[in-house]
Amino acid sequence: MDNNNNEKYLHRLIELYFDGMTSLDEERQLRRLLADGRFRSAEAEEARAVMCVAVGLSPTCSRKPRRLPAFGRVAAAAVAAVAVVSAGLYFGSGEKTLPVSKGQECYAYVGTELVRDPEVVMEIMQAQLAEMSEVADDFSRDIENTILTIKYTEQ
């Protein structure tokens, strides 16, 4: 593939990624293309920021690996130890953080049915917020009534 085709393919992958539709293999290819550094479009830069991909990991990079200074080796060992412990905490606790994935997501499960139409999903969200708004209003009214009752009782 020449450079032009690669760039088109990259933008297609970026589109799929933000729609949440990339396979694992496609995501790997996307990371490889973003790390290349040749592609500097606004979409590529945004995808790099979201996916935390650093430029400069190209296989054509000719920098020789440098030996870290002593403090750097110690810090790296400490970070590695923390990473192992963190992984243990995360996977071992059984209580996960909220699912974190980069990019955009918009879906709903209504029972067993998966809904991906963004308009429908937004309508579901708005309906649920409206429902919560009514309950919150009832709560506010109850508080006001309680305060009024106390005031009249004190008089």
Binding site: A81, Q128, L129, A136
Partner: protein, 141 residues
């Protein structure tokens, strides 16, 4: 060697603080109940929530299932202990309405939990730049 130990301990403390801050018991429910015939789960993350000044909207709705409602209330009760601010109402000994403000995420995002109980249980988690007044503006008329 002493330097390595000190660095590791410091980094461990920071990690555990962040982990404690960001992990929520209700988080598990949003994935476990996806596809459950008695539950509805909604997830919206990103640009679609821009008008609400939010980054993340997660909700689960359960109707006529005391078992699942009980699980939701139990998970919520654990997370509620970390709440910085709350509005809570009980009816008939059961949690009827709750609005919790949680501590910020490591990225400085505000977090809120909304709950409505009863025959139809609704749990909503919000995360984003929206402050309390913005949340109140679309919740309370």
């Amino acid at each position: 060697m002493k330097r390595l130990i000190i660095l590791t301990l410091t980094a461990l403390c920071v990690t555990m603080a962040v982990s404690a801050q960001s992990s929520l018991h209700i988080g598990r429910l949003f994935t476990q109940l996806q596809g459950n015939p008695d539950a509805s789960v909604t997830c919206i993350r990103g640009g679609a929530l821009k008008d609400y000044k939010l980054n993340l909207f997660y909700s689960v709705v359960v109707e006529d299932n005391d078992g699942l409602s009980g699980q939701i209330e139990a998970a919520l009760a654990k997370d509620a202990r970390k709440a910085l601010d709350r509005e809570v109402q009980y009816r008939g000994g059961r949690l009827h309405y709750a609005f919790y403000v949680l501590g910020k995420t490591a990225e400085g995002l505000n977090r809120y939990i909304l709950f409505s109980g009863g025959r139809r249980t609704v749990l909503i988690y919000l995360e984003g730049r929206a402050d309390r007044s913005v949340i109140n503006s679309f919740l309370k008329k």
